[in-house]
């Protein structure tokens, strides 16, 4: 169950035609075609999501008496979350993570790459894009090792470059490391999205901006941005949602040291599987689901308005 990406904005608007059953399938067989997929989605996606609500109002635990016979505790888990300093810490760190690596990092670097690569030589363009894409497609466990090696205290590449041997980046500055890591990891998506969005900017307008002597910044602000505003919004929502749900911080820091990089997904895991508190972690999962739902609804609304 990955963060499976929904279809992406920027593709040509689909022509809405009434569906024609040209092969003569018939509604009965069509429903039969749908059934296996819907059964699997129902069992392994919809049911767990709904079940979270129920587990979230019990004191269900991984071990002990409550594992055998959990009892309903009402909203106790939610009131506990309100006063849980570690949960507040996780929310705050997730906010920093999303703000730093998605909203600022991936967005700006992705746009900068799309904008500059537009006019670069094909060889340069292909090389840079291949590297950025490679960072995106490598398996996350492998990427985690690349960055653990990069940040290593004794022989890490970063310390060799900066001449700061002995700095344990992942322990001293865990959130900075995570933001850098996730910017590196996810920029490809924004780069590709902005590349295709920039193709919709009429070249004639860019040309006239150049003729009247507009600076690069003015061109971006007055010509390019109005054309891609919708893409910026939808892209930001999507990468924020993915980043907030990203489990890879666990691979780099396990949430440590001392909860300093424990984002919400890592916190859920630690509470549920390390602490064994399935009820409480379900309540937090439900809050995450609600947040996801709100972002996704907003995203689809914006998408619909644009087309």
């Amino acid at each position: 169950m990955a963060t499976a990406s929904p279809p992406v904005p920027g593709r040509p608007a689909r022509v809405r035609r009434p569906a024609q059953d040209v092969a003569g399938l018939g509604i009965g067989r069509a429903v039969g075609f749908l059934a296996p997929a819907l059964l699997l989605i129902g069992a392994f996606l919809v049911f767990p999501a709904i079940w979270t609500i129920y587990i979230g109002i019990t004191n269900y635990r991984l071990t002990g008496v409550e594992a055998v016979s959990p009892s309903i505790v009402g909203l106790a888990n939610y009131t506990r979350a309100l006063n849980d300093a570690l949960f507040h810490n996780a929310l705050w760190l997730t906010l920093l993570f999303v703000l730093g690596s998605a909203i600022i990092g991936q967005n700006i670097l992705g746009f900068a790459l799309a904008w500059t690569m537009r006019r670069a030589r094909p060889a340069v363009r292909r090389t840079v894009e291949a590297l950025v894409l490679l960072a995106w497609i490598l398996p996350s466990t492998v990427v985690a090792y690349l960055w653990i090696a990069f940040f290593d205290r004794d022989t890490g590449t970063l310390n060799s470059i900066l001449g700061t041997q002995g700095t344990a980046w992942l322990i001293d500055y865990p959130m900075v490391c995570l933001v850098l890591f996730n910017t590196w990891r996810g920029t490809a998506f924004s780069m590709m999205l902005y590349s295709s969005a920039l193709q919709a900017v009429p070249p004639s307008q860019l040309e006239s901006a150049r003729m009247v002597g507009a600076s690069g910044w003015q061109t971006l602000r007055d010509i390019v941005f109005p054309h891609i505003r919708g893409h910026v919004l939808t892209n930001t929502l999507l990468i924020s949602l993915w980043t907030a749900n990203d489990f890879s911080p666990f691979l780099l820091t396990k949430g440590g040291p001392n909860h300093e990089s424990e984002t919400v997904p890592v916190y859920i895991y630690n509470v549920a599987l390390q602490g064994g508190e399935l009820g409480y972690s379900s309540a937090i999962s439900f809050l995450l689901l609600i947040a996801n739902l709100l972002v996704a609804l907003l995203y689809l609304r914006l998408l619909r308005r644009r087309s």
Partner: protein, 273 residues
Amino acid sequence: MTPAYVVRRIGFYTVICAITLFFAVPMLWIASAPFDASPGLGVRWPDWTLENFRKTLSHPYALHSMVNSLLICVTTAVAVTAFAALASYALSRVRIPGRDALLYGLLLLSSVVTGTAAMVPIFVMMFQLGLIDSRFGVALVMTGGLLPAAIFILKDFVDAVPKSYEESARVFGASTLQILRDVVLPVARPGLATIMVWAFVNAWGNFLVPFLLIRSIEKQPGAVLLQTFTDEGGSANLAVIPVFSLLFSIPVVVLYLLVNSRYGFRFHGGIKS
């Protein structure tokens, strides 16, 4: 060539170089460490040897975990492709009552119910079903998670297939199943191949689901096993980790290049976990 222009060009290439280095430098380790006689976490010109490969291949679980990964990912990819193909064809061609609401719901599901948000109920559910420590269980969970997005991407492909093909086949008296097998299936092949690779790559890189659901080391796929390589002293086993990382990345990169060269990179949702 005014001086201002030259300065701008130099600035431009400096920025490009900096960005390229930012993306390239962390990857150097996986290119050098596997071939180094005394591999560490640093990047240096290797003392060429293939000894690490021998050590990795003779590791008791390394190859085994690749087989586990293959097993899980092939099952997932085939199931996702088959079920998504059937569903997307039905959704594209037949006006099933409530179709638009269903499509909207699928689109929401694909981004709302993420692995991290659903890990607790999925763990509890699989625990109660007795599917903990089952590779098949892992494949089932991954299939359920990937299907909504897969149906969407494939429906776009099917929508783009001209209906006239099916119409003319029907005029010539082909049965429904013949049309599906001999007309629709071949035309939709690029879409099916893309979705299969997409599902495979997603499942291959997925760490969370097997990490939650699989207990015994001989059933772990590569993504999880890679986290557990330690030497006798308990510290990271640096003879095995770089080589295994390299070998484990190859299928993903090869499949990606294959789809890219055969069908061109189509930008729908992206091949990403």
